[in-house]
């Protein structure tokens, strides 16, 4: 039997080299899988699960959703719009490595907690939703019941008796520091404290008892939180809390049953859209500038249209078609309003509203042939093969591209009649850019030369026929394509793009970087994706993995 047996010091060093690419990851795999030494099954299991934070901080979106659900509000309070932003931690906003509570964010949390608490007690209906009615049981008994139920939602687990006592003490102290009705002052003070607690701000994981293979199974409530923040980006609902209490999440089957229930809920759609929004950088769509002299039809409302089109497309692929990467890259179903219909040369099925159409099979494929991606990676006037190519390399193929050189060398004179010829004369074979641009970037971008700066189809560029054919290294050889249609198809069938898709989902779902311990899982999920696995099934498999339901014991630095 093959076992993972690289010495742990080596294992620890490899991950940083790998962040940039599954291609590299795939290349390195053979050297990590060997039969040196005689590792026990125990070590093998532990080596498949990377060490990670026991205190992932809520993202700002998770903070919003959690506050809404703790307080039983109808909508998100919206306070986090003014929170200090987090530093960039890769493609996704939920990388635990960069989420910390800095002095400024602490002040933001404090202000928000105080405002929330004050707003709740100002509204009797909101108080009634949280506090049991006065039936003569006495203020402290009422307070205790309120603290136990709201506290459980905020900490995402039942509170220990000592924790309840501390909050009751705070409740009793409140009238000396907050004016007005003493009972409401107590409710306000306790709510303020709960939202500033590390048990609310972090998803604290504290289980320490390892099982036989050395991994530490998460506690039932910890698992419930991981599940609900993954699939709903918020705290567990009552059903999930009950399942945790009843031990239903302790088995793989039980976990899957609840994951399936949650995937069917509309909240899961927001999470799936959030993944694609970040991976495909939809936020760029809203700030596009196109020269109005060249593209009078590209008005300011176009940015929002493109985002809406992309959202509807992804929802259709994932939830209606139950598809995966293949459908994402090849489906011709589109959702257009009258403004987008012209761009795609179809009739608008619902006028100003978005309606479903099928696009021309000769001209369009999946998400990479849609106006959003093409316009966001186009200049004010022209197509932009370099940026389109870089995007496909980085986000779709997880290729490791060295960053552009620090200093710009003198440029060769412009030669050529089409965009492609000009770009090739600067960066293609025979120039200093040949190694990166010539082999990886340009081909991946030239494939889209049939689309102009706003994503309209064109057969000619500058009056000359478009050439969108090229070749790219896939599957160990050079794969040739004619245009963006065959290029999309080729990507959909490639090991590289499917492993990249799996790797991106892993990073998003687990809220951390993919590291060497994840290699085997990524390879497996990539192969399943290549052979038709849906996004929903991919998520269920990520949840079924030990990497989701256990922790690796921490090697404490001496």
């Amino acid at each position: 039997m093959e076992t993972l047996s690289a010495p742990s010091s080596v294992m620890r060093r490899i991950p940083t080299l790998l962040r940039a690419g599954a291609l590299v990851l795939a290349c390195l795999l053979p050297s990590c899988i060997g039969t040196i030494g005689g590792s026990s099954d125990e070590q093998q299991a532990v080596l498949m699960v990377p060490e990670r934070s026991a205190f992932p901080r809520l993202t700002h979106a998770q903070w919003e959703n959690s506050v809404r659900d703790v307080l039983r509000l109808e909508q998100r309070p919206g306070f986090s719009a003014s929170f200090t932003g987090d530093p960039l931690g890769g493609v996704f906003d939920n990388n635990e490595a960069v989420l910390s509570v800095t002095p400024n964010l602490w002040a933001d949390y404090q202000r928000a907690a105080e405002e929330l608490a004050a707003l709740v007690v100002a509204d009797p209906a909101r108080v009634a939703a949280l506090v049991p009615p006065d039936e003569g049981q006495g203020n402290e008994a009422r307070a205790r019941a309120f603290i136990e139920t709201v506290g459980k939602r905020a900490y995402r687990r039942p509170l220990a008796a000592a924790e309840v006592d501390k909050l009751v003490a705070l409740f009793n102290l409140a009238p000396t520091v907050i004016d007005g009705d003493p009972f409401l002052a107590g409710v306000e003070h306790v709510l303020s404290a709960i939202f500033q607690s590390p048990h609310f701000v972090y998803r604290v994981e504290g289980t320490q008892e390892p099982r036989e293979d050395g991994l530490i199974p998460l506690g039932a409530y910890e698992l419930a939180s991981r599940l609900s923040y993954l699939l709903w980006n918020t705290m567990p609902d009552d059903v999930l809390f009950e399942a945790a209490a009843a031990g239903e999440l302790d088995t793989k089957e039980g976990l899957r049953t609840h994951a399936e229930r949650m995937l069917a809920d509309p909240q899961a759609r927001d999470v799936v859209l959030s993944f694609h929004r970040q991976l495909f950088d939809w936020k760029k769509f809203g700030d596009l500038y196109k020269d109005p002299a060249v593209f009078p039809e590209f008005g300011p409302e176009m940015g929002q249209d493109l985002v809406r089109e992309a959202e509807l497309f992804v929802e259709d692929v994932v939830f209606t078609q139950e598809g995966g990467l293949n459908e994402l890259l090849t489906s011709r179903t589109a959702f257009v309003n009258d403004r987008l219909a012209g761009l795609y040369e179809v009739d608008a099925p619902s006028g100003a509203e978005f309606g479903k159409v099928e696009l021309d099979a000769e001209k369009r494929s999946g998400i990479l042939t849609r106006a959003g991606f093409l316009a966001a990676n186009g200049t004010a006037r022209a197509s932009d093969p370099i940026h389109r190519g870089v995007f496909v390399n980085l986000r779709v193929l997880c290729a490791r591209l060295p960053p552009p050189p620090n200093n710009v060398p003198p440029l060769p004179p412009v030669e050529g009649k089409t965009t492609r010829e000009i770009v090739a004369s600067h960066t293609g074979k025979g120039t200093c850019g040949a190694s990166c641009h010539g082999t990886l970037i340009n081909p991946a971008g030239f494939a889209f030369e049939n689309y102009d700066a706003i994503g309209r189809y064109r057969a000619e560029d500058n009056g000359f026929p478009v050439n969108a054919a090229d070749a790219y290294p896939l599957g160990g050889g050079m794969a040739s394509f004619n245009d963006a249609i065959s290029w999309s198809q080729m990507l959909a069938e490639s090991r590289e793009a499917n492993e990249c898709f799996a790797r991106n989902w892993l990073e998003f779902a687990y809220g951390r970087d993919a590291v060497v311990e994840d290699a085997e899982l990524i390879t497996k999920l990539g192969e399943e994706s290549r052979t038709g696995m849906s996004v929903k099934e991919l998520l269920l498999e990520l949840i079924a993995s030990d990497a989701f339901s256990t922790r690796r014991p921490v090697e404490v630095a001496q």
Binding site: L17, R19, E51, S53, A54, F55, P77, G78, S82, T84, G85, P87, V101, T102, P103, N104, W106, A107, D108, Q110, R111, E115, A118, L119, A122, D123, K166, L173, V177, I178, D179, H189, A193, Q196, S197, P198, H199, V201, G206, D281, D287, T379, A380, D384, I386, V390, P402, P403, P404, N406, N407, V408, L411, V414, V423, H426, H437, V554, V556, A557
Partner: protein, 459 residues
């Protein structure tokens, strides 16, 4: 006034409950002219148009030596002539270099080094690379501010995602998030201004009781035996961030200024608002310095490799980044932008005028024994040199003598000195010390040669 008056009923509506200033004014008893020296750093990206093999000098004066309004005005084709009104308070420093190479991305490597004089990280690399040590604003705050009081870290412009904030570092690879929204920055500093002392006392007691409970919870978590280093650091930072309310001097901007910030709030990252937002942030910085809330502030103009599309003569231009490379591409190759160096020069002037706005604001605080500008030093720096994005001749323009420590009214060419020496000298001017208790002459990577930049120190 009761703080409840600030609460307006609906969720989702912007609510102006003022809250604890992150920086409590330390010298409430300070009289006019009793301001401890401070430093403000304004960063421009993408280099400036100065002399290269094929482009003319358009930034520096032609002669080093004393500066006068007349001498600067006489060379109105140079970007620094925009600052001629402040000639006697300027120090133009040419010949500052970054000591270390970048790691795959010139912009990121320059941003990492410009206020740190530290090496650039091996990992992460490229546009994600980070500095391997603290920045000067952090050093100043750590050494001279009250405990736990942060340097002010502000930002104007869009956050494009390729490189965002680059300036302020708590320590190796620990970049500090910069606030892009003026109203948020203002509320964080001065939100409680205007409350009655009695209300403030109660609020302080209320907060302390919550803080005490939270501290207890944090300590319990931090006592766990199974914490990795990253988690321990994370909890430490959080614990250190918890501060009780101190009641001191009240400082505020005019209601009109605050209302304008509130109006700007939803659009504060918009390309077209970069200059207005920068000015609002500068209003806050000037107020913070006048009130002694912190001794160091940074403001970054634009994202890491500033992609702002500035307006020149009313026309929205290509992104500054592309203009700075002289080509219509964010990569290293692309079609030439004709006359790009003239556009770049105009953008240098836009930055000069933004800097002048800051100087105007500082100068407008009349403290009797001088204006606020004279008590501190404001720095307009770049994180790159020229159109080749070089790490040599990185422009540093200082204004204000830090209460007489620095020799103003001059243009010096120090001819290839690492930036740690300049940054350390600014720290020394404010009162920062080296380990031996002398003036800070060893700021930056320990490998760098030590010493003050004596050319700019008053004799």
């Amino acid at each position: 006034m009761n703080r409840r008056h600030f609460l307006r009923g609906l969720f989702g509506v912007s609510i102006a409950l003022p809250f604890l200033e992150s920086f409590s004014p330390r010298k409430a008893e300070a009289g006019p002219g009793d301001i401890p020296p401070f430093a403000i750093f304004m960063r421009q990206a993408n280099g400036c148009v100065q002399k290269t093999d094929d482009e003319p000098e358009m930034f520096w004066p032609s002669q080093t030596g004393a500066l006068t309004t007349e001498s600067l005005n006489a060379e109105s084709d140079r970007a620094v002539s925009e600052l001629s009104a402040y000639a006697s308070r300027l120090i133009l420093v040419k010949g500052i270099n970054f000591a270390f190479p970048g790691n795959g991305c010139g912009h990121s490597g320059g941003g990492n080094q410009c206020l740190t004089a530290q090496k650039v990280s091996d990992t992460p690399s490229g546009n994600e690379s980070l500095a391997m040590g603290e920045s000067i604003d952090n050093r100043i705050a750590r050494e001279l501010n009250a405990e736990g009081v942060e340097p002010l870290t502000l930002y104007a412009g869009k956050k494009a995602g390729y490189i965002n904030e680059v300036l302020s570092y708590r320590g190796p690879k620990m970049i500090r998030a910069a606030e892009h929204n003026p109203i948020t920055a203002y509320q964080a500093l001065f939100g409680l201004s205007g409350l009655d002392p009695e209300v403030l006392q109660k609020l302080a007691a209320q907060r302390k009781s919550v803080n005490d409970l939270v501290r207890e919870q944090m300590q319990s978590l931090m006592s766990r035996k199974d914490l990795g280093k990253a988690d321990r650091d994370r909890l430490d930072l959080h614990f250190q961030s918890i501060r009780d309310l101190e009641i001191g001097l009240q400082c505020k901007l005019t209601p009109e200024e605050v209302a304008a910030m509130e109006l700007m709030s939803p659009d504060s990252r918009n390309n077209d608002n970069v200059i207005t937002v920068a000015q609002m942030q500068m209003d806050i910085i000037a107020l913070a310095m006048a009130c002694g809330t912190t001794r160091a502030a940074t403001i970054q103009i634009g994202d890491g490799n500033d992609s702002t599309e500035y307006y020149i003569n009313g026309v929205r231009q290509k992104s500054f980044h592309k203009i700075s490379h002289r080509i219509d591409s964010d990569g290293s190759e692309g079609p030439v932008i004709e006359g790009a160096y003239l556009l770049h020069h105009e953008i240098d002037r836009i930055h000069a005028r933004m800097f002048k706005y800051l100087l105007d604001k500082l100068a407008a605080y009349d403290l009797g024994s001088g204006s606020l500008l004279d008590f501190g030093v404001a720095v307009w720096l770049n994180d790159l040199g020229n159109k080749y994005h070089s790490y040599t001749d990185v422009p540093f323009v200082l204004a204000g003598g830090a209460n007489g420590y620095l020799k103003t009214g001059q243009y010096v060419d120090v001819n290839g000195v690492h930036n740690g020496r300049l940054l350390g000298t600014i720290g020394a001017a404010l009162g920062c010390k080296n380990d031996a208790g002398g003036p800070l002459d060893d700021f930056g990577d320990p490998e760098l040669p030590k010493g003050l930049l004596t050319e700019i120190v008053a004799g």
